[in-house]
Amino acid sequence: MTNMIKILIVNMILLITQQLSAKDYDVRDFGAVGDGIFVNSNIIQHAIDYINAAGGGRLVFYPGTYVTGSFYLKSNVTLHIEQGATLLGSTNPWDYVKDPHVGWKSMIFAVKQDNIGISGKGIINGRGFTTANNMVKYIQKGLFDDPLKLDRPNETNRPENIYFRECNNVVIRDITLKDPASWNQTYDQCKNLLVDNIFVDSKSYWNNDGIDVVDCDGVVIKNSYFDTADDAICFKSHDANAICQNVVVDNCTGRSSANGLKFGTASRGGFRNFKITNLTIYDTFRSAITFAAVDGGLIENIVVDGLRSVNTGNVLFLRIGNRWSSGKTPSLQNVTIKNVYAEVPYAKPDAGYNYEGPVEDNPRNISPASIIGLPNMRIKNITLENIEMVYPGRSDTLYAKVGLTSKELDAIPEMEKSYPEFSQFKELPAWGMYIRHADDIHFKNVTFRALEQDYRPAVVMDDVKGASFRGVSFSEPNAQGKNQIFKYKSSGINIE
């Protein structure tokens, strides 16, 4: 696998040099107006078409504010947005098209194009809050058909900033992406995608994911920053016959009112060969890392090496569910997570951010990290190494309590059809780690620390076959002699 990643990086470097040699075109030469008012969609589209026909190059946006609706990037064209230039989304919903192939709205589309990119230190700002609210008006007037579920237009009826589909050799670098009306940027069934040094600030409306990589092959995301209302770095698999694979995420920072880094929710095909290194997640409402195989897809060969999770509601959530599997059997196996330091706060970690995450699944005390399969679909071969997790403790049995009796443990629901979220089971019986329906779970050099006393043990295993604890330590005030590892219906547990 290391070899695969190396090849990937070499490919990416080739990709960049390839694009550097191309010719530059000033968008103003095509008549674009950077006054913050004029809608430039048609001009930008013509410029792209022209550059594409002329053999490729960069369409350069010099300082100014260029308003636009939807347009399509074409092969061998890079949008280069200089520092001081902003590509500003029109707030008129009618200025955006829903691509019939993609089934989604976006400002910048690319469909089946090769060697494309977006670069420069400028800004792409969707102004999604206003656009989405304008859309709501038209829906309410009966001019656009949308069920307005949860009082918001369906996410496919709100424009993203970027949606690339079935494109090869894509480079996104240096840009700032702000405030789309829906997800921020989707790369769907693309091959060879490099995302480097981008800054994402999107807390403007519901479903503001930072980046969504869907069923792509050959992806490097590095040196980037994501501050988002919904999931920050998100891998998805929409197609049961496709797979998201060969992915490197390196040196990124995420902040989210949902999850930091997530596989899923849509996970039909699966996720394979990932290396996630040097990831920082902070002020994040849900999990620093969520791997969810709930739609029949697989998750395998995943390495997380280097995670710092600070003021984040949950450290890890590994989950098999059976939501939309349609005959396939979901799997989650061969995952190594190492070199992790995590602090879970007692208070709401994303308080005060725009579009704060919804408080749900109460009453429950602070939730543990969890590895939760299903009785007949088990999570397998998970290694946790060099990890320190700091919890607030302070659970209150009068508020919520799940004890260690078989009755209480068996009463924890399976929830196989539910949307996977670390909090979905409400109160869990451990304060550090809860494992259920899993095989071969290995802890090496793991420290669990509770800052205040908790009524629960640190680790609870229910229906676990094969687990090893080597160099695992626990710290909890006034808890001398407390049995911090509790086994239930489990076998092959080796504690050193």
Partner: protein, 263 residues
């Protein structure tokens, strides 16, 4: 909930009900400030009105900036006195259709369509012409086109790229009446292969660009051209081929009355 709103919306529209359903432009988000580019809002309005069986799209006092809009079956644009559709001065915001020259308002194969002016409410019993306005900004549009061609970015001739104000082809039941049409980048009104066309009460003023013809038509059947004033740099009326049942009367220029169109 949505139905409730929708019925309200219909009720609002019905307040003005005459023979056809009336829709106000602001409902679709069209802005009368002169700086908001309304192309997609107007197009959406036309699409929705046509898909609901047709009606009148009313523009009241204000300047509505737009690029090419495509008129569709059973839709009439009403420009009330003081309302101006303003052509955006940008080469790439204009389009035609296969076989149809570029225009600000374009239609191909549509029936029962119109662009009409309306008498102001405080003037009654007067024979007013030239009310609502279509302002083509021909000079600026042409400048944009020429610049783009000179740079090699636009691979069209100036004639191909210059939009008329109104370009209709293979349409049936067309009304263009009671408007002031100003400064086209190309010809002002062009009809090709249209049937039953009424063109009356137009004040056509287009002289910023050389060779801007007022009314150009070919292969039309049933064309009525009445009570129009032409102040154009090209020919007031230019008919190229094979038109039948053409009636004309009381058409004028600064130099005097135009002779009747033969053919």
């Amino acid at each position: 909930m949505k139905k409730f709103f929708f019925s309200f919306f219909v009720a609002i529209c019905a307040l003005n009900l005459s023979a056809q359903t009336d829709y106000k432009a602001s409902v679709f988000g069209c802005m009368s400030d002169g700086i908001t580019l309304n192309t997609q809002s107007i197009q959406t309005a036309i699409n929705i009105i046509s898909s609901r069986g047709g009606g009148m799209l009313h523009f009241y006092v204000g300047r509505y900036l737009t690029g090419t809009i495509f008129l569709k079956n059973n839709v009439t644009i009403v420009l009330h006195e003081g309302a101006t559709l303003v052509g955006v001065p940008s080469a790439y915001d204009y389009a035609g259709l296969p076989g149809v020259p570029k225009g600000l308002i374009v239609a191909h194969g549509q029936s029962n369509i119109g662009v009409v002016g309306s008498t102001p409410e405080y003037q009654t019993n007067m024979d007013v012409i030239g009310n609502g306005i279509i302002e083509g900004q021909g000079k600026s549009v042409r400048k944009s086109i020429e610049t783009q061609i000179a740079k090699g970015y636009l691979n069209e001739t100036i004639e191909q790229a210059s939009p008329a104000l109104i370009s209709f082809s293979e349409c049936t039941g067309v009304k263009v009446t009671g408007l002031m049409l100003r400064e086209a980048a190309g010809d002002v009104v062009t009809y090709n292969d249209c049937k039953n066309v009424e063109t009356a009460g137009l004040l056509i003023e287009s002289k910023d660009i050389a060779g801007s013809n007022g009314l150009v038509f070919s292969k039309c059947t049933g064309l009525n051209v009445t009570n129009n004033f032409f102040n154009v740099s090209g020919k007031p009326i230019k008919s190229s081929a094979n038109s039948k049942e053409v009636k004309s009367s009381d058409n004028r220029t600064f130099a005097g009355s135009l002779s009747k169109i033969t053919k």
